[in-house]
Symmetry: C2
Subunit: 488 residues, 2 copies
């Protein structure tokens, strides 16, 4: 009945236990469920009786068998009973019951696709060149962080490591004029988690939230999945058209005033105050996503909303995804003092805290000035990339193209005035066939607001350049011009 052998011929207690367990679960012992006595089994297998006894004890401890002194072990009743209903249990079709959140997510999931490989030039936004990553500096910082031996390895502060928050406090002040207390800073896993925490703490189903149109889709997703309803407000060359906020009731507004995503407008100070006044009047929060403020190519970055008077209800959001790497997953929130403990609690419920070694390494880079030096270096490199892109587009397209959003950031928007938007898919396909990845701005428009009408007129592309070298940019634009030419 028992067939159990190993390569060496001899089995230990563990192998016997495992083999018996598998047999029990396969119901080979029939309805009476009697197993051989330990003596019989030991003899049959050529092992010591004590070896079998250990295996039987373990099976009994785990409830697979029942033993009684002097009697043969027997498969536990519950296991036998389970065997009878097994035929039923095999029918799968477990009904999927989801929460309202789960159901909304199922109906409108965010997309993620493997980045296409081997393109000659991929103008996808939000990606960086590995050649810009400060490998040596980061490695040194990580090694130093790993060498630190705390008294014990324990969960850390949900708000983030004190050392990093201290370093960020100084950085925010010197680079962005943002003044805050240490405990207003909450370190998160990239800006996406910052958005998600805001969504959960501030939005209920049926609430309204203001979005820039066109705007950042992953923010829209994070808010909309709560069941709240987007109120799209068009943007122009100066960002959100704040005069349109008048009379709108919403729980929060999501804005990118330093460099509107995607169109690139910089919100002038008048609109900033209009936005803040609206937020105060309607008791709304303003989420200021300062995602690429390190890349400003004219003079010093504009002070963010958070640095202005009357910004008590601004939640500031920063990230290193555009300066170091999106794969590190480090961002930070500066939250109103009254919300501090709530954000900490949310972060703790959600994942305890952000991984510690990276926090420590980033803190070291900020403290030593290496982060600032790195930012200056990649800012220069990205300025060169932008120049390469603008130059190549001008050479290839002349005045058939209009460029927006060149003052800052890691992308521009290129409008192809001669190409009607209905040719968009054809252009994308033609470019891809030549090894060029391009991405339409139309995907970032909300269907309902007036912005859509404009986007319908001509093809607009969001062109990211931070992962490309100038030669690739040049070649990509040449091929793009060929693709566009073939459409005519």
């Amino acid at each position: 009945m028992i067939e159990m052998t190993t390569k060496t011929g001899r089995m230990g207690a563990r192998e016997i236990y495992e083999a018996l367990r598998d047999q029990i679960m396969s119901l080979v012992y029939g309805t009476d469920g009697l197993l051989p006595s330990s003596r019989a089994l030991a003899g049959e297998m050529g092992v010591a009786r004590s070896t079998v006894t250990v295996a039987y004890e373990q099976l009994a401890a785990e409830g697979f068998i029942e033993t009684r002194h002097g009697a043969r072990p027997r498969v536990a009743r519950a296991v036998v009973a389970q065997g009878r209903t097994r035929a039923i249990s095999r029918t799968p079709a477990h009904k999927m019951r989801l929460s309202a959140f789960g159901e909304r997510l199922r109906q409108d999931p965010p997309r993620w696709t493997e980045p296409p490989r081997g393109l000659i030039a991929n103008f996808r936004y939000g990606e960086l060149s590995p050649s810009d990553f400060p490998v040596l500096v980061w490695k040194k910082a990580v090694t130093a962080a790993m060498a630190r031996k705390p008294e014990r390895l324990a969960y850390d502060d949900p708000c983030g490591a004190l050392r990093l928050r201290t370093a960020l406090q100084g950085y925010l002040w010197r680079s962005r004029s943002v003044r805050c207390e240490l405990d207003q800073i909450v370190v998160v896993n990239g800006s996406q988690q910052g958005l998600d925490i805001c969504a959960r703490l501030l939005l209920d189903a049926g609430d309204r939230f203001v979005m820039e149109d066109p705007g950042y889709q992953m923010a829209h997703h994070a808010f909309a999945v709560t069941g709240a309803i987007a109120v799209p407000i068009p943007v122009d060359a100066e960002g959100l058209q704040t005069e349109r906020l008048d009379g709108i009731e919403a729980r929060l507004a999501y804005v990118t005033p330093s460099h509107q995503y995607p169109l690139g407008g910089v919100m002038p100070v008048g609109r900033r105050h209009q936005l803040l006044a609206w937020a105060r009047k309607t008791d709304a929060y303003v989420i200021e996503d300062d995602y690429d403020s390190e890349y400003r190519y004219d003079t010093k970055p504009i002070p963010p909303l958070h640095a202005l008077e009357g910004s008590d209800n601004v939640i500031y959001l920063g990230t290193v995804s555009k300066t170091l790497s999106p794969t590190l997953r480090i961002g930070y929130l500066v939250v109103p003092a009254g919300l501090r403990s709530l954000f900490a609690a949310a972060k703790q419920i959600m994942d305890r805290h952000t991984p510690l070694v990276e926090q420590d390494a980033l803190a070291a880079m900020l403290e030593s000035g290496a982060y600032d030096r790195h930012v200056r270096r990649v800012r220069r490199r990205n300025a060169e990339r932008q120049q390469a892109l603008l130059g190549a587009l001008r050479r290839r397209f002349g005045d058939r193209i209009r460029i927006e959003g060149t003052a800052a950031g890691l992308h521009v928007v290129a409008w192809f005035d001669g190409l009607p938007q209905k040719r968009e898919d054809a252009l994308i396909r033609a470019a891809r066939a030549k090894g060029v990845g391009i991405y339409a701005v139309s995907a970032l428009f909300d269907g309902r607001s007036t912005g859509r009408a404009r986007s319908r007129k001509t093809i607009g592309l969001v062109m990211g350049y931070s992962a490309l070298e100038p030669a690739q940019i040049e070649r990509g634009c040449k091929l793009l011009a060929q693709a566009a030419g073939e459409l005519d």
Copy 2:
């Protein structure tokens, strides 16, 4: 009017821009808002006129001032208007409007306290000794991960790096008999994020969820903050009393069948089937938290629920917080195939993906066998620590103490039969005064179920030992016995 000097006496365009901006925001230019001409200001400050012009251009670009050729620049109307309402804006008192989730979290937040330092022995559960961390192996793996240069730095798969999921698939099969497809594995930031994703996808306010009583409080928190209602079911030495599930309708049950937290019972196979049958019948999910299964001191780990027949609605949850470090924040879910894309979408909304370097480093450790070797090594060390603890408790307390949960894990529960529970706070204080950190199991009981009655009788402590060396354990128990003796 303008007072601007630097240490060197000469200012650049940036300093001038900043000083003017600050003055504008402080409303020093009065109601007419006229600034000096660039020529006048340049003369006044002893700088080139072009320097002032650059500063003015920047201020104009940002909307602080309005310029017209030939006229003096003027503070922008919006800024002046803002000045008039400033008195109002200074009144703070932004009304805090939270979501229902935020409100529930505010009323019942999880706690986090800085781990106490300098104790002679801290028996806090869930912490590890830095001396157990495989520094060299991990450093090598991290360094190798950082040296890999992908084509571009881009967001990765929300489910986790393919390499890590592949390594985990093999590990789960060889170490836990868990068979699954690659795309059922979702890498998360520690088990807490796994619990939070389950809570969000599966629970709505008013739903019911089954909790072990006593049980893991951070799981309770994650579920309860959705507004769902806990149904506490008592546990005994064999884990959850599954016979009590009969007739209970709930959306999910949270269980720790391999080593019940905190009491340490191992759920026998009969109860496991009873639990699975209940889940199938009621269309409930079972979340199996296999948090410490690597530490089993008798024989091979018991196969988890997930490895049993009829476990289609089991969500399996694992972590490296107990084997490597809780500060790494890496865990993993094995989800039913039908929920796979939904979990991926949730993870993407929540924080895109888990940091990549750690995923890669863990994958390398799993592939090379270094992880398994490490687990064997720390299992031996923790078995020694447990022996030290059991020995010390026996010597110091004799049969005035009962120990539960020694078969596995990194903690035991010690019941002090002679000490009534009302002396609990006194014992904790007395121990702390002697430099010993102890933690009562009573905090883990749900107030409503019958388990509480038992916990009320005598003091029970959850004693974690994985962050302590045997000598500390010995000394801690001696001091604890002194503290207990002084209570009599």
